[in-house]
């Protein structure tokens, strides 16, 4: 029983990381119908920025964190301007390929700049553990869970209670109509990319004590975040987090209870099953087209 709870908690913590990356997918998808295959690599880059600020320049953890988030937000805008804007509105396939290219590029360049070793960031949560009875919970995992809840709530408020959020939803439904209604679609898309890169950076920094930072971490975790986003239903913010947590728990449980090898494929088997039975995901809206 104790094992089970322990696995559950570490699965939830891992899942929250997937959820955070999936949040990035969902944000961009919700606003622009673009699926960003480079999301994991943005996370990796954010982690490296934070490592540069904190580990190499010796800044305070929170200052470095904020600096990395701001830098990545600007980088997200830049990437949107250069890679995505010229092909906005084109078929999904072009955009998927362009973002795959961006991911390749970021991964290789990060490898060239920072090398291919593992890096670690010293965080205020690295050491402590919380004991509840004989259950041991590491602070770094709890910090991931807490941060996910906070970010999720903030984003939900942003999308549903602010004008900008409404503008984003409108431009996702029909870009041309949104443009005619006076929504600055291009700027909206830019801001969405900035937010999504910032969220990815949060994931990268929080993750640093758990999986370390190396140039391929984005690919590995990004591919795990896809099942999370699909499971929750692409385009649903709570769905992304719930999907992420489910994937994390499934992976953690499969690693503990099933023979070796199942750990890595279990998320994808679940994903295929979900796609077959309920293609719109758990929280997805099943929109009907009026003819």
């Amino acid at each position: 029983m104790l094992d089970f709870v322990q696995q559950l908690v570490s699965g939830v913590a891992l899942g929250c990381v997937y959820g955070l990356i999936a949040l990035g997918f969902v944000l961009v998808y919700k606003a622009t119908e673009v699926v960003n295959f480079a999301q994991g690599d943005l996370m990796m880059l954010g982690g490296f920025f934070a490592f540069t600020f904190i580990g190499m320049m010796g800044l305070n953890y929170w200052v470095g964190f904020a600096g990395a988030v701001v830098a990545m937000a600007l980088f997200g805008m830049l990437a949107e301007r250069i890679v995505v804007r010229p092909i906005l509105g084109y078929p999904q396939f072009s955009i998927i390929m362009a973002t795959i290219g961006l991911g390749y590029f970021l991964r290789s360049v990060a490898g060239m700049i920072w090398g291919t070793d593992d890096f670690k960031i010293e965080t205020p949560f690295s050491q402590g553990v919380l004991r509840i009875g004989s259950l041991v919970l590491a602070h770094d995992k709890l910090s991931v869970i807490a941060a996910t809840i906070i970010l999720c709530a903030l984003l939900w408020l942003f999308f549903n209670k602010t004008t900008l959020g409404t503008a984003m939803r409108a431009s996702s439904e029909n870009m041309l109509a949104a443009y005619y209604m006076g929504i600055p679609v291009k700027r909206v898309v830019s801001i969405v990319w900035a937010i999504s890169a910032a969220v990815a950076t949060c994931a990268g920094v929080l993750l640093a004590p758990i999986t370390f930072i190396h140039s391929n971490v984005g690919l590995v975790l990004g591919l795990k975040a896809f099942p999370a986003a699909v499971l929750g239903g692409f385009g649903s913010i709570p769905g992304a987090v719930v999907g992420g947590v489910l994937i994390g728990v499934i992976e953690s449980m499969a690693g503990f209870y099933l023979p070796e090898g199942w750990k890595d494929v279990a998320p994808y088997i679940v994903l295929l099953a979900v796609l077959l039975l309920k293609p719109e995901g758990l929280f997805g809206l099943h929109a009907r087209k009026k003819v």
């Binding site: 119908e33 998927i96 290219g101 390749y104 290789s108 591919l223 090898g261």
Partner: protein, 383 residues
């Protein structure tokens, strides 16, 4: 400039529209046939890989380019073909038999993948095919009694008509070339047939295709099966060329390379698949060239143009350092993909068409002919 007047349907679907095609393709084939007696063995090896990649490119083109079903899981089909061949060869099954068996099995599995894919579109299909590829990769690594797990499998040389064909011999190259040519001709014929027309109809508009009486589900599964079967054939050749296969060769990276093949070549033409294959196979020799010879040459050029000896040595060093950077290949891939998507969505073949048109229309060519239109798509969620 030659004008083609098409007066009936037969003219429209003719394999070679005029004698120029026969002459130019005949010349190309002649060049390819004498290539092994002229080129170095390293280049021959690369040419074999071009044939294999082009075969997979054509297969992927049938699925992605002509039926509009994106797949990032073709490395898995290649793996299934390769492993079937390696497994059957252990039991002394003759080459033609296991070659066909590999294609048939891969085609069958492709059809099985096609069924779930019926309900999926766009991004969901991409993710589903990625998942399929991951699962296959894991099965290959774990099913040790058949696949020998992570230790990989050796595969012996092809024995054809009693003779052993080593993987570096011209005969093996001819075999690969024959498979490629048969695939291309077969695909051309397929695309002229009602099946091919149905594929293109599905790509352009599923709703329209259905209302014209096309059985969308049937043709999507067919497209998956055909594409997978051809990839399976290529897998057999791939295994023989490498003579050793292991699960970590058939990763997502390889699937992406296949997509790059058709993306760079141009997603609508068979020429494109071949051009893209040449391109992707030649990146490695190019990088080697960049590392070994380029620094010397550039330093020599710099020296003749008046740069001092130290300056030239410095330039040589910095280029050599740049060329031996670890992730250079990945960065080049990334930049190339982005540049093609952004500036030349029709790929290398599109570029060729533009050059051809320029000469055909010489004083009248307008760049605006190929200008991208701004388009806005409505939400895919409501599609």
């Amino acid at each position: 400039m030659r004008f083609l007047f098409k007066t009936d349907y037969e003219d429209d679907i003719r394999l070679f529209p005029h004698s120029g095609y026969v002459v130019s393709y005949g010349l190309l084939l002649a060049v390819l046939l004498i290539a092994p007696y002229v080129l170095s063995s390293y280049l021959m090896s690369q040419l074999v890989f071009v044939c294999i990649y082009a075969t997979v490119g054509v297969a992927l083109l049938i699925l992605t380019g002509f039926t509009g079903q994106a797949s990032l899981g073709h490395a898995a089909f290649l793996a299934i073909g390769a492993y079937t061949a390696a497994y059957l060869q252990k039991y002394n099954v003759p080459f033609p038999l296991y070659f066909l068996a590999a294609g048939a099995l891969t085609g069958l599995i492709g059809a099985l993948v096609g069924f779930p894919a019926l309900r999926l579109q766009g991004i969901y299909l991409v993710i589903a095919t990625i998942s399929f590829a991951f699962i296959v990769e894991e099965i290959l690594a774990r099913w040790e009694s058949v696949t020998n797990g992570n230790e990989g499998m050796r595969i012996k040389a092809v024995s054809l008509l009693g003779a052993t064909v080593s993987r570096d011999s011209p005969t093996f190259y001819f075999l690969c070339l024959a498979v490629l040519v048969l695939t291309i001709v077969g695909t051309l014929n397929l695309l002229r047939s009602p099946t091919g027309r149905a594929f293109v109809a599905i790509r352009d508009s599923e709703t329209a295709a259905r209302s014209m009486g096309v059985n969308v589900a049937l043709y999507k599964v067919k497209s998956f099966a055909i594409s997978a079967a051809i990839t399976g054939f290529a897998g057999v050749l791939f295994a023989h060329k490498l003579s050793f296969i292991s699960p970590e060769m058939f990763t997502l990276q390889l699937s992406i390379e296949f997509i790059i093949v058709i993306l760079i070549g141009g997603t609508f033409s068979l020429h494109g698949a071949v051009l893209g294959a040449i391109f992707i196979v030649m990146i490695d020799p190019f990088l080697t060239y960049l590392k070994d010879d380029m620094p010397d040459i550039i330093a020599g050029v710099a020296a003749t143009f008046g740069a001092g000896k130290e300056r030239a040595a410095h330039i040589q060093d910095s280029i050599a350092t740049f060329a031996s950077l670890n992730g250079l290949k990945g960065a080049i891939y990334g930049i190339i993909i982005m540049l093609f998507v952004l500036f030349e969505p029709l790929g290398l073949y599109g570029r060729w068409l533009k050059i051809k048109l320029f000469f055909q229309l010489f004083p009248l060519y307008k760049r605006a002919t190929f200008k991208r239109q701004k388009i806005y798509v409505k939400s895919e969620r409501n599609r």
